[in-house]
Symmetry: D2
Subunit: 92 residues, 4 copies
């Protein structure tokens, strides 16, 4: 089972929200909204894509490399926990 | 007229392509694709969002601040041309 | 006069601080500090480099394109002010 | 032994090169170089900091979580190899 399966519902909700945000950008362009407004919508999408990326990478670490909450090897568990923190810091 | 109006067709095409890419991510999650595949799709979206951002900012500079191709003030035209290069370098 | 001249003192202080942060990373590696600690120092440098970039681009806009505080053309002044906001949002 | 120890020489060389790049920025500001030139130097530093980050994270994965070249658990080895690819893609 893929990491994308286990957290499928949550990830799908994120992606559908992102699709809704893309549609809001589409409408803002069709309605000739001020460009500052369009840029703000795009900045939100950018943040949401980063958030989705972090969640996918974190799931990948937990399910395919090491889950810090259940790995019997305490050193590896700690290394994985630190890694998840680093991914959150650098990709947000 | 807003900068989003003048280049409306081109920007709308970009946004609709991005919506299609979001739908591909949605399908990959529904079909439980391997996470590496999902992450590759998300990386493409990230690049496309950056490209859209650069285009919106460049349009904003040209239409609301200074268009290097038509500004009568040669110093400002050069400053604007350099600025557009910088935006492309830093946001790509 | 270049934009780097006018705000020279402030920019130099930023750059020297960054050099000090690089030296702290150098020492942490020499002293074999835990990698989490090294990565935190590098994350700070990353933030500081982004801050320096934003300041340089903002100075460039104000001195070579349009200064929103003194431009007689009100539309261009507003366009430049919005542009500075956008640069801050996207590069931070 | 920390991951920063094993690859200490290579990482230190990278950090010293970065310090040299910071000194070049310092000189360019002192000499009132054109701002385009300063911004190009800063863009190089930005790239070099990203490269250092990727190397530190990759070392961390190999030494504290799973080394794809030597992990006996083939699934985890593959998960770690994919993770290293993802880190390179997203942080470069």
């Amino acid at each position: 089972m893929s990491h994308t399966t286990k957290n499928k519902t949550r990830l799908l909700a994120r992606v559908r929200r992102l699709k809704g945000q893309m549609e809001a950008i589409e409408r803002s362009l069709e309605n000739e909204a001020p460009c500052g407004e369009v840029l703000n919508l795009v900045a939100s999408v950018r943040g949401a894509v980063n958030g989705l990326t972090v969640e996918l990478i974190e799931d990948h670490i937990r399910e395919h490399v090491s889950n810090p909450d259940s790995d019997d090897d305490a050193d590896r568990a700690q290394g994985a926990a630190e890694l998840i923190d680093v991914v959150r810091t650098y990709l947000k």
